[in-house]
Amino acid sequence: MKIMLVDDSRTMRNIWKKVLGKMNETEITEAEDGAKGLLAVEEHGPFDLILLDWNMPNMDGITMLKKVRGKNISTPVIMVTTEAEKPRIIEALKAGASNYMVKPFTPDALQSKIKETMKKASALA
């Protein structure tokens, strides 16, 4: 699977990579903000999955998500963020997020969320 990780924190991207490494997912692209993530979608896509932070400099995750969906790209996107209020979750799901994960999380919880999202995506395909 081709997976893109979009988070301004290298620490968080490394944590995600470790979880994905345990799932034998090896083809990973990283971006440190929404603008670079959007560029990577255009230049290196399509991806099978995008893990996307919300609060980032230059372009935040929700803006990137809206732009990706505006291009009719249906790649599953999991928002992984500290934004945990209901209105934010609803906003993300309305904008086309496939799933939502609140930080902090355990590696097992993230792994389950990824599996659940991929299962749902393959059922819809």
Partner: protein
């Protein structure tokens, strides 16, 4: 500052340690912090705006910063480098973000974290009470300082109005 804005930080700190930092910890009683403020090796600063405005500051020693980086990333670091700063920023982000979800108002935003490394003292806006939450670990004390005021009209600016006085 109302306890309704402090208790969420206690839950958020506890939740972070329980899920992502596998180090024993004990959260002490929050107290009002008064001048003269001590100096620290590392601080992580996050601005908050919306129904409240102000900042959340994590203060810690070099030893604890290195240990928390190891706990979070699984990678050993020996210096206060970019990786360590990034890890402390993410910890600050998760504590502030986790707390704001339990605030009375939902219209609150947090800024991206700023990290100060090197012996320094954090200066807060005059008149803003600073509530300090101590969190003791085997590698030293993490102090989470909360300096917030409620707004009658929500603010949109996200920048923390703090100053840091560097001492090399």
């Amino acid at each position: 500052m109302d306890v309704t804005y402090i208790n969420p930080f206690l839950s958020s700190i506890r939740n972070l340690f329980d899920t992502m930092l596998q180090i024993p910890f004990h959260i002490g009683k929050p107290s009002l912090k008064e001048a003269p403020l001590p100096r620290y090796d590392v601080s992580g600063i996050i601005g908050m705006s919306g129904t409240v405005s102000g900042c959340v500051v994590l203060n810690l020693s070099k030893e604890l910063a290195l240990q928390l980086t190891l706990e979070l990333t699984g990678e050993e670091v020996t210096e206060l480098d970019e990786d360590c700063a990034d890890a402390i920023g993410e910890i600050a982000n998760m504590i502030a973000g986790g707390a704001k979800k339990d605030f009375p108002g939902e219209d609150n935003s947090i800024s991206v974290p700023s990290i100060v490394i090197g012996r320094h003292r954090v200066s807060y806006p005059r008149g803003l009470p600073i509530i300090s939450i101590p969190c003791d670990t085997s590698a030293g004390r993490l102090e989470v300082e909360v300096a917030l005021q409620e707004n009658s009209v929500p603010t949109t600016a996200g920048a923390a109005k703090t100053l840091t006085e560097n001492r090399g």
